[in-house]
């Protein structure tokens, strides 16, 4: 019995550590959003915030968080929609093409994903400037689509491969076109994969910083990561405002993750690895 008890105790300790490891640093930081300025820089540090909302107020009023949030939603949302649409179509094509071709194209796509973002930022910027797309939503969304497509395509291709061809053949026999079969049979069955790819895509576009900094210099169009990076002025580092903004920018992602965590894991497990 004691061995069983030890095992249980070790397990609980393990869970505790995993939780502490994941949550404590973030909670410590974000709690600053609820403190007063003197509490933040107090030495020694004060753990418990006084639940003052002054930084949220300041973040909203002086730092204009709401429109950064709006821009992030628009950019990340559009990127996800476009990437998933393109990814779904191409993933299906790759799943149904001959192995050799598909493998070649997939490897090419993976190679695309390996290049450092710094180097492609400058040429992308020049292209956007040529098209007059700087400081526009499409100027950021299109590069993001290109950057998220590789992972999305990989996940979706694997998912579509899972779907037995017999189901499609059945609908084809029933008089459906191949395209129709795709829309009506394959897509609905691959919602977990679509889900996973969407979330990965959204999180990437939401968090991307470097390209956003270069492309959006108009405050009206800047996204959250850029906004937060620009909080720093010449004064003392505005930790309270940064913490408040971090809280606001992370909350939607955390909520999404909490709601969809099972789907994310299922999606990745079915898609990424096959025993």
């Amino acid at each position: 019995m004691s061995k069983h008890f030890l095992r249980k105790a070790a397990f609980i300790v393990g869970v505790f550590f995993a939780l502490a490891f994941s949550l404590v640093p973030f909670l410590l930081f974000v709690s600053s959003a609820f403190k007063t300025q003197s509490q933040i820089t107090a030495i020694p540090p004060q753990w418990w915030p006084s639940f003052s909302l002054e930084f949220f107020r300041s973040a909203l009023k002086n730092y204009g968080i709401m429109h950064y949030l709006l821009n992030s939603i628009i950019v990340a949302g559009s990127t996800t929609l476009v990437t998933i649409s393109l990814g779904a179509f191409s993933g299906y094509a790759l799943a149904r093409l001959t192995r050799k071709w598909a493998h070649l194209i997939l490897m090419g796509i993976l190679a695309c994903a390996m290049f450092p973002q710094i180097a492609i930022a400058a040429p992308i910027w020049r292209f956007l400037q040529l098209m007059g797309w700087l400081n526009t939503y499409q100027g950021l969304v299109l590069p993001y689509v290109a950057l998220t497509l590789p992972l999305a395509i990989w996940i979706l291709t694997v998912f579509f491969r899972e779907i037995p061809r017999e189901l499609e053949s059945a609908s084809l026999v029933d008089g459906c076109s191949r395209f129709g079969a795709f829309i009506r049979v394959v897509l609905p069955l691959s919602t977990p994969g679509l889900f996973t790819a969407s979330i990965l895509c959204f999180i990437y576009a939401w968090n991307e910083f470097f390209l956003a900094l270069l492309v959006m210099t108009d405050p009206a169009r800047q996204t959250m990561p850029v906004g937060i990076a620009l909080f720093q002025g010449e004064y003392t580092v505005p930790w309270g405002a940064i913490a408040a903004a971090s809280f606001i920018t992370t909350a939607p992602l955390v909520i999404m993750v909490l709601l969809f965590q099972r789907r994310i894991v299922t999606g990745l497990s079915a898609g990424a690895i096959k025993g």
Partner: protein, 429 residues
């Protein structure tokens, strides 16, 4: 690409014909794009801009905001100008950029618009910084120079006069710390992170020992001279981790100022903007107990401070140069500089503003800074300064971070690299 722009031209033509009327186009306001960094008091700037728009109803100003860090702002501005972006009209230039921008043909030559008699209304240092090959490329907006802040209450308590030499500062500091019996009180606070500010702080130490980093006449680096090595060794051995906390190696202006206004440092080096913050009772624990003076020097030498500040530049390819110039003229006018001084604490570059009665009354420290401003020295003026600065930052950081760094050897390595850069810069002279 050709078919693309043809399609666009066709579309635009259709729109113009279909929806535009010549009358409405005559009333179309000119929009100027003003790319700035994130200001500390955006309301003041917005008020000035609104006032300009009121006085010039046919011009609209579009604000675009880049990062506050000078280096990052430079990256964005230079990229746009290099790529011949015509959607940028007015921008800021740090005091060290005009040679680079002028040489690259990014900023407009303002010599015909900004004659010498107008230039003379400004302080000499900033004007010199904006001049390249006898032409002027920018209009100074506000000025910066390294200023020495100290706790006048502590100095008075121990009957000290402001220190004239660095050693005096250390001695005074030691006695004060012992007397106050406060283990968390430090003597000095400055900026020693590996960034441009490090170059400023270190140059002030080096210059105050009679040294220099580049001989402008021979165009060769002079890093391995004994007076330079001595100054750097002093910083490494007496300042970092001794007079100042070790953490200053990671401090920029905000963190170093924070140490001072929390009452944890007796002496502090910073730009003029710090005065208002240090005396603001809502932000500073030492409000009312701060005084300013000349930076100390090494025995037998004069105090030195680095020239800083920002200037207005106009894009050489701007589509509205006339309106852009009007805007720059307005923003650098007496009135505008007075408002920026009174409400944003930014030191003016027009000499007369310092003698304005309002400014004298409400911001008396600005007049006290004036001698330091007049003496402020610019950093090496060269189109390759950004690269030289990177090498200097690396050299200084390596020298002061390791207690047993071989400074002469590091100086030799840095000199070799800087010499190559100077040769490159000389190719375009």
């Amino acid at each position: 690409m050709k078919t693309f722009s043809e399609k666009w031209i066709f579309l635009i033509a259709v729109c113009l014909l279909g929806f535009g009327s010549p009358y409405s186009f005559a009333k179309e306001p000119t929009t100027l794009v003003f790319l700035t960094w994130k200001p500390n008091q955006p309301e003041v700037w917005h008020r000035l801009v609104k006032e300009f728009e009121r006085l010039n109803p046919e011009v609209r100003i579009k604000f675009q905001v880049g990062p506050h860090s000078s280096t990052q702002y430079h990256a964005i501005v230079s990229q746009r100008l290099k790529n011949k972006d015509t959607n940028l009209d007015v921008f800021f230039m740090d005091v060290i950029w005009p040679p680079e921008f002028a040489n690259a043909g990014w900023c407009k030559d303002l010599t015909p618009l900004f004659p010498v008699q107008d230039q003379e209304k400004f302080l000499h240092g900033p004007i010199a910084a904006n001049t390249y090959k006898d032409k002027i490329y920018g209009v100074p907006c506000f000025l910066g120079a390294g200023v020495f802040y100290f706790r006048k209450d502590l100095l008075q308590k121990y009957h000290f006069k402001p220190p004239r030499t660095w050693q005096e500062m250390l001695d005074q500091g030691k006695m004060i710390v012992e007397g106050e019996k406060d283990r968390t009180l430090h003597i000095y606070s400055g900026q020693f992170k590996q960034y441009e500010g490090l170059v400023c702080d270190m140059l002030e130490f080096i210059w105050s020992n009679g040294g220099s980093v580049i001989d402008q006449k021979t165009n060769l680096p002079t890093l391995d001279r004994p007076d330079v090595i001595h100054a750097i060794s002093f910083v490494r051995d007496q300042i970092i981790g001794k007079a100042a906390p070790e953490g200053v190696i990671n401090y920029e202006e905000p963190e170093s100022l924070d140490l001072f206004i929390q009452g944890k440092a007796i002496f502090h080096r910073n730009w003029p903007y710090a005065w208002s913050i240090a005396n603001n009772p809502r932000k500073s624990k030492i409000a009312g107990n701060v005084a300013v003076g000349k930076l100390p020097a090494f025995a037998g030498h004069d105090s030195a401070s680095v020239l800083g500040g920002w200037q207005f530049g106009i894009n050489r390819l701007s589509r509205h140069p006339r309106e852009a110039w009007r805007f720059v003229q307005y923003m650098s006018s007496y009135q505008a500089q007075k408002i920026l001084a009174l409400e944003a604490g930014l030191a003016p570059t027009r000499r007369s503003v310092y003698y304005d009665s309002d400014v004298e009354n409400r911001m008396p420290h600005l007049k006290a800074f004036l001698p330091a401003f007049k003496r402020a020295r610019p950093r090496p003026l060269s189109p390759v300064y950004p690269m030289i600065s990177q090498e200097l930052q690396r050299f200084f950081s390596q020298a002061i971070v390791n207690k047993d760094s071989d400074i002469p050897r590091l100086a030799k390595n840095a000199s070799a690299r800087i010499e190559k850069l100077l040769k490159l810069g000389a190719m375009v002279k």
